[in-house]
Amino acid sequence: MIDRSTKKPLYVSTDGNAGPYIMATVQQIASVRKLLDANNISYWVDEDAVSFDGKPYVTVVNLGHGSDAENVQKILDNAS
């Protein structure tokens, strides 16, 4: 799945110890949620979105501890 604002693939960040997460534009969140739901991946989406420097609003999909980041990345990469 491609990030519509950066034109780069959406990726699952694994930095830090808080569990993996995905940053995505607000316009794309519905598609990301649909994909995760279809694959029974548990997550929660930040209730707020932030726009930096006039760019599209971005929010965070939190996957939480114990989530298989590699598997989620594969799911994103295989999605159109």
Partner: protein, 232 residues
């Protein structure tokens, strides 16, 4: 000041503090999300903690941001919500018992307290303080059973009390057991336990928000019920 005025002030102060605390959570989270976006968009930066000598660059900071938002920040503000609620509940009890001390007529007092008191109101204050302190060590359902006995407010309802019990048990596990659920957490939470013994407690955003909303609702309901009762 009348008891109605006191309850009104107490309610308004607590609700204002709860709102301020949630704003702090939302704004601080937003600020960290901005940092993550800035790094995502290629900006550079370094932070040095002068006290510890620790230095982090933008990549490390972006990773820490997620932990700070979902871990430390959520936990600290959640604990603050519960602390504000406890303060409200005990202050409510204290001012109600001070106005209607008859409920404590069987309580015992050391004669020293009478000798040290300047007047009757100081004696009442000492007895009330001791009673509220005693109650603070009981489980949350006991607080509300006691409150219902002395004030007959008719709130919070059983479902709200059970949810508050789980919220408080979560807070206690965060504070006293390094965020790990234990048998005490499970016992206090009963059917609403979100985690098993030994699991790390998490505070997903909807739970964090729902807890804040419930606390806010109960504070408003208790105060309004007290004011209505006194006004009739």
């Amino acid at each position: 000041m009348t008891l109605i005025d006191e309850i009104t002030l107490l309610r308004n102060a607590c609700l204002s503090s709860l709102d301020a605390s949630h704003n702090y959570y939302a704004h601080t989270k937003g600020a960290w999300r901005l940092v993550q976006q800035m790094v995502w968009q290629g900006h550079k930066g370094t932070i040095r903690n002068q006290a510890t000598g620790n230095t982090v660059d933008e990549t490390e900071l972006a990773g820490l941001a997620q932990e700070y938002v979902t871990g430390y920040l959520a936990s600290a503000t959640f604990q603050h919500f519960v602390s504000l609620f406890e303060q409200f509940a005990f202050d409510f009890l204290r001012i109600w018992l001070t106005e209607y001390p008859g409920a404590l007529s069987e309580n015992q007092l050391e004669f020293r307290n009478v000798l040290d008191a300047a007047d009757k109101s100081e004696i009442i204050a000492a007895v009330v303080q001791k009673e509220v302190h005693r109650l603070s060590y009981k489980r949350i359902d006991k607080w509300f059973a006691y409150l219902e006995e002395i004030a007959g407010l008719g709130c919070p309802n059983l479902d709200q009390i059970q949810r508050l019990a789980e919220i408080k048990a979560s807070r206690d596990a965060l504070v006293h057991n390094n965020g790990i659920a234990n048998s005490i957490y499970v016992g206090k939470s009963k059917s609403l336990a979100r985690f098993v013994d030994g699991a790390r407690l998490e505070l997903p955003q909807n739970y964090h928000r729902d807890s804040w909303q419930l606390i806010r609702q109960v504070v408003a309901d208790m105060a309004d019920a007290g004011i209505n009762k006194l006004g009739n």
